[in-house]
Symmetry: C2
Subunit: 308 residues, 2 copies
């Protein structure tokens, strides 16, 4: 595994990679070699590793980046204390036989005088974007940069960051970026808690309570699937049930940022489940702001046409 | 010349164009074929043709796009009446032996649900951006899209749109876009008026007066170069001289949007000419909002260190 810290070096290595994975698919000519790319902020867990394995499996060449992107943190957020463990991350990625680890410093990606923002309006102001107003502009900008640097055929993102995934897909579509986006299912601890670098902020007690977030999502799914019994239930009812579960499960200590049910593609609010729906939540448990989500598809029971 | 109206077709042709003829698998990716790209809004004049010739001269393959981009027009601007002449444009480009003319409709580039904006903050709110607040976001977004579609090695822009050029260079730098930007000198009518599709809005009388814009820029240059005689003159003095010339030359009818002297790279205001300076103006003459600019470089007379 090559560890690369500068753009110049990265460009050289990408070009060299497999003689012909160089540059954009167009410039690569008729080579069939493909690059898979996994952008991360490091402090890797099994969720990241599942992305890496998907990239490895589907491509000739795999690039992982680790960059804690200042642009996606608000002024009062956890940029400074965001967990880092470079040594452990390197060891994990070596074990996965990643080809290139791109590990740039902040000045390499944001040199003095940086002025550009990529923004997917509308999608970026709701859910997590409501309480983190600059977050998704920061995500889009860095992801766009990394795509241009790595020039991957396919990039891999976790379903856990559901809104991020939707926004990045929309950015790629709107800007005609030459990359496929693949969603990889959320990896969970045995008790259901979605893996996240931020889980390390949890105390032992909070960690024991945190699985209630996923349990509330499963409850929502159950209520929706069991539509015969709950055909009177509006999304607001489902949300209220979830809210109660989460507060009960944390002895009232959890601070619920949001629990919402929205269209899984447009993130529009929905009054009935019609087509794919995203049930998403963000909850502060102690010092950790945890997010999780599940996607509900239409099922065979004609759910789309039934009011909940 | 291929005339292409859809993204799918464009992608196919670009891929074919870039494909190396080399039989050796090792060399398949290292094709030396280059694509030169000239994005335009059509109604082509000699200014555009000079861009096309530069692209032809320096590349194996030349793509020109014609697209009147709604996103860069404000609500009260001239989108609807912006001049169009597809037949004439096609004839001109055929004569220049352009390889591909990309001529998409609006829905091809902005399908329903389009949500993304690329913005080079700070640079986009001054000069033309002050009176056209959405203009440069629209320019950046469409140029970014076109770069991703055409995947050119080099793209060509006119120096006449000086601020646009600076903003696009900054976007390319910030987003690590894989394209070189080349500036091509402004092409002028015999009497000095910068060529522009909007010149056709001018009445005969206004057309006769319009060269005073360039004359005022030349006067500014003269004042700056003749620094020995004008070492007391601040940029504001130069600007006042220009303002008077323009008003005199149009019988007081011109409406000056701005005349400014700014740093040629950062567009910061400058109090003395130190390094490259951009002298830029936008003036409404009748129905036409005309822009022009010149760039002042340091000369051998130590101008950089002298106060004006």
């Amino acid at each position: 595994m090559l560890i690369i810290r500068t753009i110049t070096e990265l460009k050289k290595c990408i070009k060299r990679a497999g003689a012909s994975t160089s540059a954009s698919p167009r410039k690569r000519g008729s080579s069939n070699k493909t690059i898979g790319f996994v952008p991360t902020m490091g402090y890797l867990h099994d969720g990241h590793i599942s992305l890496v394995r998907a990239a490895k499996k589907e491509n000739d060449f795999t690039v992982v980046s680790i960059f804690v992107n200042p642009m996606q943190f608000g002024p009062n957020e956890d940029l400074d204390k965001y967990p880092r463990d470079e040594k452990k991350d390197i060891a994990l990625l070596k074990k996965e036989k990643v080809d290139i680890l791109f590990l740039p410093g902040t000045k390499e990606l944001y040199p003095g005088g940086f002025k550009t923002t990529v923004s997917v309006k509308e999608l970026s102001g709701v859910l997590c974007g409501a309480s983190r107003p600059v977050h998704f502009d920061g995500v889009c900008t860095i992801v766009c940069k990394l795509f241009n640097l790595v020039e991957p055929d396919t990039a891999y993102f976790g379903q856990k960051d559901g809104q991020q995934l939707i926004i990045i897909k929309k950015m790629v579509e709107d800007l005609n970026l030459n990359v496929k986006i693949k969603a990889v299912p959320t990896v969970r601890e045995k008790d259901g808690l979605a893996m996240s670098s931020r889980n390390m902020y949890l105390t032992k007690e909070e960690r024991a309570q945190a699985p209630v977030l996923y349990q509330s999502l499963l409850k929502a799914k159950e209520l929706i699937n069991n539509v015969g019994a709950t055909c009177q239930a509006a999304p607001t009812k489902i949300i209220n049930t979830m809210r109660k579960m989460i507060l009960n499960g944390t002895n009232g200590k959890a601070k619920i940022d949001y629990i919402e049910i929205r269209d899984a593609k447009t993130l529009d609010k929905i009054k009935k489940i019609n087509g794919g729906a995203l049930i998403a939540l963000a909850v502060k448990v102690g010092k950790a702001r945890l997010i999780d989500n599940i996607t509900i598809q239409n099922n065979n029971r004609g759910l789309a046409s039934q009011k909940l």
